[in-house]
Amino acid sequence: MKDKLFFILKRLGNSIITLFVLSFVIFSLLFLAPGDPARNLVGTRQATPELLESIRAQHYLDEPFLVQYARWLNGAFRLDFGTSIRAGADVATHVAPFAATTFQLVGMALFFSVIFGLSCGIIAAKNQGTLRDSFINVFALIGTSAPGFAVGLLLLYLLAFQLQLFPMFGSGTFMHLVLPAITLAFAISAMIIKITRQALLHEINTDYTTFMKARAISPIRITLAQLKNASPTILTSTGLVLAALFGSTVLVETIFSLPGLGNLLASSVTFRDVPVVQFIALIMAVIICLTSALVDILVYLLNPQAVRVSTSNLEHAGLLKGRKK
């Protein structure tokens, strides 16, 4: 119990350090962009000397770099990320509705793909070499190779335009999010299928599986044991996929005209709305750090042994006593 708590705290501590480093990089974005930071903050407005002067004063641009960073960080802790150049409003309030849409979209896509991907992966592995397996494999191949925008357009045409089951565009309701979520889930579930199938196949061919079968242990229990052993692989890859998801919503948001983070990020970059870009980059950094920490903690809680001792190291040291060499 003490070990577990220690591991969790250590892992979270790691994430906080990572976030600090990232926040520094993100803050530097403003200064890494070519040209005068003050001009960058002007955005697409007319850069009059008075405006530049007021921006310099507002952003304390004349102070040393580190002092500016400390000021920015201090604001960030109070959720004050400055003012959006384009909207003129507080950044956090401005971005919040966009973020909410994307979170809902990604959450739904993740839900679909985990349920679908896991079950298909398990079915494929358990029926290796049969028709079912090849069918699922073909689907996974299509899923990983079909471009997301093509799938999105196809779904729009068939389900929204022809069958009129879903709204064509817009946002606000659950139904508006289903098609985009399916589009996103299409590629992700294909990846989860492949990962689950491969990880599980490895476990199916193990001695402990044979020994469990030889003791007439129920097939469900055997599958659960195999999944538990395969969980580090499956969880780690799913975590990576989730992190990548947040960066890849822009296409889907564009096709379905959803006001999400991806769209906002793209247009903010075009309009050189630096505070908004910084804020979105920070949100993504937080999500990626949290996901990977969460995955590591979950893997540890499911399989504390796997994390604590790597058997191969012990074997190297000749510490696995009793094994004939």
Binding site: F211, A216, L320, G322, K324
Partner: protein, 493 residues
């Protein structure tokens, strides 16, 4: 009490006969041995008893348990009424047989039929296999090989089988643990008055532990009957071959030591720790030019670490390795299946080794003659070679830099007795021809007797005894060496 009756058992895989017309009968509580070389179909026989044959195989025959006919092609559901309850199985490799992610106690418990689980006495189950209760709260990786095999046995017994099958249950363990586990299995057999099928390639083991014996060769039972009768007067070639293979090693004369003149390797006060465990503790050894020195000890005693320190794969915490050869020492590993790159042909690998040693590719002929590799193998990849052939390739590769010292880390333990014998002879010849010093690390006293002139005995990271091989085997001083010799049943006459 259980009766098992198998008639006309045929198992084929991809049109290859694995078992042919096999008949097997068992109707009292005795220990039965099934012996044969690897690949003779022993494991397939066990697996057909509980319906665990690989998917690509087809099986036919009549199978009766207690006069009730069972289809050999039955569905999983029907097999599950037989597995565990009628027939329990102990797996070969205790290092892989247990689920690494589950506590040992839970693994034993999960096999107990649901309605009995609440009243199951885990402490008693562990006591029966000689384990303390705290093992229930341990993961398999925290246990030694012997302890793990005891957990496997407890798990197999928890399902209350009426017949126990042990498929090479001690092959993966070192000699002393091997004996303890066999004693345990045989004790359980007598105490529970439960029939036992011992599957093994070791004919001496079958001789000591079983009443009745079946000799399997290429999927057929070639000889069967009372164990003592069969083994004292074997009628079939296959049986004789199995017996001879053991005598090859047991009756081999002692290896002759080289005249000790010039030191090639001298290790002083070597010490190494891995975390909590001391792997080497103040180890001193010397090897002379052209001499073969053996290092013997159980797994975990530090033998491998010593070898790795000498070739520089592991850095010692303290101590010196003085090597006086002109060419660096070479190492031959245990597992010839993992030490060769499967993507390359043998020719490519050996030529690469020659180039790396700064020699011309045309000198290939020399090293393959030394390692006795037929030229036609050069075009093949490792997959097309037997274990013995692969080990020859590994040796040829090690010979490329013309080493003055070769370290063999359990280099023959993955091979069967006959091939072991050939490789050992080859190494002896090499040693004499090339004036090569050999440091042979092994746990097997029979191998040691054949190859080493001098022996260091390692126990718990220390050298506990050191002498000429004959002296060690016939007049061991240290209690550990005596125990090792008693467990290995080597015929020292």
């Amino acid at each position: 009490m259980i009766t098992i009756d198998l008639q006309n058992l045929n198992v084929t895989s991809k049109e290859l006969d694995i078992l042919k017309n096999l008949a097997f009968h068992l109707n009292n509580s005795e220990a039965v041995g099934i012996v044969g070389e690897s690949g003779s179909g022993k494991s397939m026989f066990v697996r057909s008893l509980i319906g665990l044959l690989p998917i690509q195989t087809s099986v036919s025959g009549t199978y009766r348990i207690d006069n009730k006919e069972i289809s050999l092609n039955a569905k999983e559901k029907q097999w599950r009424t037989i597995r565990g309850k009628d027939i329990g199985m102990i797996m070969q490799d205790p290092f892989t047989a247990l689920d690494p992610a589950v506590l040992c106690g839970k693994q034993i418990l999960v096999g107990v039929p649901k309605n009995q689980r609440r009243h199951f006495d885990l402490t008693a189950a562990l006591t029966e296999v000689g384990l303390p209760t705290y093992i229930t709260k341990r993961y398999p990786t925290q246990l030694s090989g012997g302890q793990r095999q005891r957990v496997v046995i407890a798990a197999a017994l928890a399902t209350k089988p009426r017949l126990l099958v042990a498929d090479e249950a001690t092959t993966a363990l070192d000699v002393i643990t091997q004996k303890e586990i066999l004693d345990l299995i045989c004790n359980i057999q007598t105490q529970r008055n439960m029939p036992l099928i011992l599957i093994t390639h070791n004919i001496l083991l079958a001789k000591q532990r079983t009443k009745r014996i079946f000799v399997l060769e290429q999927g057929k039972i070639v000889e069967q009957g009372n164990t003592t009768d069969v083994l004292t007067a074997p009628k079939q070639k296959a049986t004789k071959k199995l017996l001879d293979a053991h005598h090859l090693l047991l009756d081999a004369p002692y290896a002759t030591g080289a005249t000790r003149e010039k030191v090639i390797l001298c290790c002083k006060m070597l010490s190494k720790r891995f975390g909590q465990t001391q792997a080497l503790n103040n180890v001193d050894i010397t090897v002379d030019v052209g001499e073969c020195v053996g290092i013997v000890g159980e797994s975990g005693s530090g033998k491998t670490t010593l070898g790795r320190c000498i070739v520089g794969l592991t850095k010692p915490d303290f101590g010196f390795v003085n090597y006086f050869g002109t060419h660096s020492p070479q190492m031959i590993f245990q597992d010839p299946y993992n030490s060769l790159n499967p993507a390359h042909t043998i020719r490519y690998m050996l030529e690469e080794a020659l180039t790396a040693a700064g020699r011309a590719k045309s000198e290939l002929e020399e090293i393959i003659t030394l390692a006795e590799i037929p030229t036609e193998l050069l075009q093949r990849k490792p997959a097309g070679l037997s274990g013995g052939q692969r080990q020859r390739v590994a040796i040829a590769r090690a010979l490329a830099p013309r080493p003055d010292l070769m370290i063999c880390d359990e280099s023959v333990s993955a091979l069967d007795v006959k091939v072991q014998n050939q490789i050992l002879h080859m190494i002896q010849k090499l040693r004499k021809k090339q004036n090569l010093a050999v440091l042979f690390i092994t746990h097997d006293l029979a191998v040691l007797k054949m190859i080493a002139g001098r022996v260091y005995v390692m126990h718990q990271a220390k050298i506990v005894e050191h002498n000429v091989t004959k002296q060690i085997l016939e007049n061991a001083q240290h209690p550990y060496t005596q125990k090792l010799i008693a467990a290995s049943e080597i015929g020292v006459s």
